[in-house]
């Protein structure tokens, strides 16, 4: 095995429940951003915990920087983890907590002070770190969570759903920061259940669903895969038959169902179908009142992909 992250049929069980099916993939050394995409419950956090050395795999092999990560200081000193959730010890200030985290990462003296300054400046919290966690906003706590992962300048930064709860401005700031870190040689692994979010950051994606790695590739490849998913559209029109007739002639239909006041079309490629539909409406060929996509959420797409891969 070689590369920064190497998984060989790595799996994880929580008792009788399979959290991660045997998974094999690798990520190369050097900087870059990789997206870990999947709906809630897909196994992203499980995979992240295995990669970060919190949980040892139940089967297979995990190597980070060429070594087993669980309770391995040589690996843990090179990983930064930003978990999801908002858990901090009560009764201590963020600065004191960060200082402790820096010391537990092997930093001390002037080097530690510089690392603290740098990390807090990176997340824009240099003037507010003295506050107690209880008096911080969610966004501030998210920044502190990020800064603790940057203190020791890790080579691998793992973020679990980092954009949850952030306002659009903070989201853009975080994206810019992650891009900067990747340019500086940090391998960033960021999980999300929103494709658009990940697509803005990276062109390399791991697709996870129900504890299985479904696909691995560029955003374009994943999009292509997703486009194969037939999308259901409810076309509300004065005449359902007219819609059906037009769709059969012009659309790549998988299925069609007539309903009162319209029709439900199952379309193979919505990205080519929808412009045609728009043109037809503009030309007055279709008596369309409104259009509702029925299953454009990611869960439905993943459901389709799983069926497709069985």
């Amino acid at each position: 095995m070689s590369g920064m992250i190497e998984l060989q049929r790595a799996s994880l069980r929580y008792g009788d429940i399979l959290g991660l099916s045997p998974t094999t993939f690798s990520l190369p050394d050097g900087g870059g951003i990789t997206g870990l995409l999947g709906p809630n419950g897909a196994g992203k956090s499980t995979l992240i915990q295995v990669l970060a050395g919190l949980l040892p795999p139940s089967g297979g092999e995990v190597r980070i920087f060429g070594e087993v990560p669980f309770r391995n200081p040589a690996v843990l000193g090179r990983i930064g983890l930003v978990p999801e959730g908002d858990r901090f010890p009560s009764g201590i200030s963020a600065l004191r907590w960060l200082r402790m985290m820096a010391q537990l990462s092997g930093l001390s003296g002037r080097g530690m002070d510089e690392a603290l300054d740098r990390a807090l400046r990176t997340v824009g919290m240099e003037t507010r770190a003295h506050l107690a966690f209880s008096s911080m906003s969610k966004g501030m706590r998210q920044r502190i969570r990020l800064s603790q992962a940057l203190l020791h300048q890790p080579g691998l930064l793992i973020l679990d759903e980092p954009f949850n709860g952030l306002d659009p401005e903070a989201r853009l700031e975080l994206m810019a920061m992650l891009r900067g870190l990747a340019r500086d040689g940090v391998r960033v692994l960021v999980s999300s259940h929103i494709l658009g979010e990940v697509a803005q950051l990276t062109d390399r994606i791991l697709l996870l669903f129900r504890g299985r790695l479904l696909a691995e590739g560029s955003v374009a490849e994943i999009r292509e895969l997703l486009d194969r998913h037939p999308v259901e559209l409810r076309v509300n029109a004065d005449s359902g038959q007219a819609v059906a007739r037009w769709a059969v002639e012009h659309g790549e239909l998988v299925a069609l169902r007539l309903e009162n006041g319209g029709a439900v079309l199952s379309v193979r490629n919505p990205r080519s179908f929808l412009p045609k539909l728009q043109d037809a409406v503009v030309r007055g060929e279709l008596p369309l009142r409104s259009l509702d996509p029925l299953d454009l959420n990611l869960d439905a797409v993943f459901q389709y992909l799983t069926t497709d891969h069985q």
Binding site: A74, R78, I79, E84, G85, G91, R99, L104, G106, H193
Partner: protein, 263 residues
């Protein structure tokens, strides 16, 4: 990217101790402080009132406060209160994983966190022991009493922390051990007494065999263990418990379970 520097066990202990020290100033810490002060303070108040009315408050009463209230009841309750505040609480509140992904030796965390609560509790136990001076207790008995209190608190805190890591209802099992097993074994014959915390604590504080009266008919003749050995026994037992806690935490995978890790 920086080179990995692994902090030494001592640096880990120092970092966690200093990091978590302010937590003793929360409600739990002040409750812990009040526990040993309450009986001694009350006894001092009573003695002042008795003396003001021309009565006499004997030093035997001071020793009774020490043995019956401090040693047997309040100190174990203090240990039961403080033990979950260490690693157990972090496990339950899921604040531990971010410490576990550091290169520091994980096995030092239970002791490092426990030391914060040990130091705080021991401080107030010493203050309470010093308060016995006002009740007429001799300096020697107070010194021995202070050693007994600190030694017993050390051992019980470590033991209860270990139970908290090994068992789901560690506090309950700990309470049963201290308040049921300890007194029960005390009335069993021979060397069984050596299996109790109280044997060593009373060996340090001074034997009360002469005070065992008719109401304690079931009590066996109290065994004696030299003070130094009794103190060493409590210290080594506590250290062994902290080591077992460290071993257990090092071996146990601790993840981000619950709603924070749903994916």
């Amino acid at each position: 990217m920086s080179q990995v520097t692994v902090p030494s066990p001592l640096a880990t202990l120092r970092a966690v101790f200093i990091g978590y020290l302010p937590r003793v100033f929360q409600a739990r810490g002040w409750i812990l402080a009040a526990m040993p002060l309450a009986p001694v303070g009350t006894a001092i108040l009573v003695s002042i009132l008795v003396q003001a009315q021309g009565g006499r408050f004997s030093s035997a009463e001071a020793l009774k406060v020490f043995h019956e209230a401090l040693l047997k009841v309040l100190l174990p309750v203090m240990a039961l209160t403080a033990a979950p505040a260490g690693v157990r609480e972090d496990l339950e509140q899921r604040t531990l994983p971010l410490m576990l992904v550091r290169p520091a030796p994980v096995w030092m965390y239970p002791l490092s966190k426990g030391l914060v609560w040990f130091a705080w509790g021991a401080l107030w136990l010493l203050v309470a022991a010093a308060g016995l001076l006002f009740l007429g207790a001799s300096t020697e008995s107070i010194l021995r009493g202070a050693l007994a209190l600190v030694g017993l608190y050390w051992a019980e805190l470590a033991f209860l922390t270990l139970l908290g890591l090994l068992l789901k209802r560690g506090t309950l099992w700990g309470a049963l051990y201290i308040f049921l097993f300890d007194p029960l074994v005390r009335i069993l014959p021979g060397n069984m007494q050596r299996l109790t915390f109280m044997h060593y604590a009373e060996s340090i504080a001074g034997s009360r065999s002469s005070e065992v009266g008719v109401r304690e008919l079931l009590a066996q003749t109290q065994l004696e263990t030299p003070m130094g050995i009794a103190l060493a026994a409590l210290f080594v037992f506590g250290l062994a418990c902290w080591a077992a806690c460290g071993w257990k935490l090092h071996r146990t995978p601790v993840g981000l379970s619950g709603k924070d890790a749903e994916g």
